[in-house]
Symmetry: C2
Subunit: 343 residues, 2 copies
């Protein structure tokens, strides 16, 4: 039986996770869920962000389901580096998976783009690049101050995430992979990424490939988002591109993500892309759609492809049935999704 660690977190986290668990319990009866208290609230209460003992406990789970952590009162970087990024690195979650699909019933800010036309996934590298934490500084606070940030890229790290992207493309109808980088400026890392991409592509003659500079890709995500199927890119470029992809498909309120260790050597983590939204917390108004879509990714990762599909389709049906302007009740949405996902 699947053992899931649940980190509800701050703000609307507990509300949306409540619904996500309803859906999970409905489609996978008998899931063993253990709650972990992490995030801004715990930090303020105890000063702790992620004790080593908790890391060891999390390690015993098949996956982690996270709501949202953070609060404006916590200094920038504390929970990001100390909790979210720490888990990605410790658990070697090298595939940061972000699907973007324009569901029927969801209005894109782009004129003339119709539901179904955007259906892409970004496979963002999750354990290297500028997120490695390799930076420093000198002469702080003086006119001579300098600060550096270093992007670290290994053949090992680049190759495994590109392989994952091609494997996912093989399972999709269009079978296309777009590499995004900035090879004309970042020539060292760019060369490693392109050569590795070409080498992996050679083993997938049935997959169409293309390359785009990150600035061009950012533009095309606005002008021609339909052209993308699978995008593979580095950690920072992926951070930026996935927010654009979310924006053109209805906003980060609708976006799910998985920080995945594909070999399941360590637990993977699944979370909505939206934050803790303290302004609407506790009011029962938060939309659990992204949290429930994250459950779909979790199910797929654990090998329950059918259940994953049913959950995603339940969300699609829910969104298609919404009448604009009608008030949304978090728990009501969760009940409908759970019922629909059982089938």
């Amino acid at each position: 039986m699947a053992r899931i660690a649940v980190v509800a977190g701050d703000g609307i986290g507990p509300e949306v996770i409540g619904q996500a668990r309803k859906v999970l319990d409905a489609v996978l009866p008998g899931v063993e869920a253990t709650e972990y208290d992490l995030g801004a609230a715990r930090y303020h209460r105890t000063g702790e962000v992620l004790p080593d003992s908790v890391i060891e406990e999390l390690r015993g789970h098949d996956a982690i389901l996270l709501g949202a952590v953070g609060d404006p009162t916590v200094p920038p970087g504390v929970l990001e580096r100390g909790l979210l990024l720490k888990l990605r690195f410790v658990f070697d979650q090298y595939v940061n998976l972000r699907p973007s699909r324009l569901f029927p019933g969801v209005v894109s800010p782009l004129a003339g783009v119709k539901p179904g036309e955007i259906d892409m996934i970004v496979v963002r590298e999750g354990t290297e690049g500028l997120y490695a934490g390799a930076g420093g500084g000198l002469h702080r606070g003086t006119p001579a101050e300098i600060a550096t940030e270093e992007s670290l890229n290994t053949r090992h790290g680049v190759e495994r995430v590109i392989r994952d992207a091609f494997a996912r493309a093989e399972r999709r109808p269009r079978r296309k992979v777009t590499l995004v980088h900035k090879t004309n400026v970042l020539t060292h890392a760019g060369s490693l990424w392109s050569r590795t991409f070409d080498a992996v592509a050679a083993g997938h003659p049935d997959v169409t490939t293309e390359y785009q500079h990150v600035d061009a890709a950012a533009m095309f995500l606005v002008t021609q988002p339909q052209r993308y199927d699978v995008v593979v890119t580095d950690n920072l470029f992926g951070d930026i591109l996935t927010d654009i992809a979310a924006a053109v498909t209805g906003g980060i309120g609708m976006a799910a993500s998985g920080c995945i260790n594909p070999e399941r050597a360590h637990p993977s983590m699944f979370e909505p892309v939206h934050g803790s939204a303290p302004d609407i917390a506790g009011k029962g108004l938060a939309d659990p759609a992204a949290a429930v879509l994250s459950v779909s990714l979790l199910l797929d990762h654990l090998g329950h492809a059918d259940a994953a599909h049913r959950v995603a389709e339940a969300v699609a049906a829910e969104l298609a049935g919404r009448t604009s302007g009608a008030p949304l009740r978090t728990a009501g949405v969760g009940d409908r999704l759970a019922a629909a996902a059982i089938g």
Copy 2:
């Protein structure tokens, strides 16, 4: 009399620059223009990208007007690092200025966004960050390969570009500056940028300020581009954000840019953001609007604010008068713009 170095370049470069010079000559009679042959064509013919002797000659000019350089046949990085970036660094063009305005007559890909609603400038740092060329690699072509790219940031470099952004904001009606970075992950460079921003802001109590992470800014450029007035950011973030800003205001075909040394200690360079578009080159079909808008930035930089304004308004009127579907003739557009700009 102003001495302008003209680099028409490759593809449609010579065509659009022909029109840009018509307009320049019309509003600033007696300009002394000298042509320099640089770009893909010269590289293929002679192997040269930017000889030192040419750099010294360019140094004697008040500004450089560039059309477009590049061609798919030149390996990535050769002209970018060897010519475009070289000039930015040698001539200390630390303000990379990119205005984005949704002109009447231009259709935004964003639903419901009306002309006049988007009117922003991005002040992108031009001489530091990940563009410094500080990267390397080891064990190339083996499983042990690593590649690095380093972002170098100095208080000197960060402060001067932030000062420039505030000075520009002071001359605009909304007086708002948004700092974009990724302080929650790039904590070293992020801290330098935020502390410097706060220090400069303290001297401009009449300017409204805000901070956004780069991923959020990329999203808001799609969902709420109206909110931006002046954006200041680092070299790579600016590269990406300006392409999004261009996309939502009609595309890079419409976008102008200036690589500026505000003190005029070295020549600044002005160029359309679009590339050499070899597919339509030589057919008289290229739109010179972005090249002519770059002339407007050039005029402003050289202290001819009135002429700069007239040129920009001539372009605005031209775009407003276009009937969609009507064929565009490069030279005809140039003639109309030159006539309109004389006033």
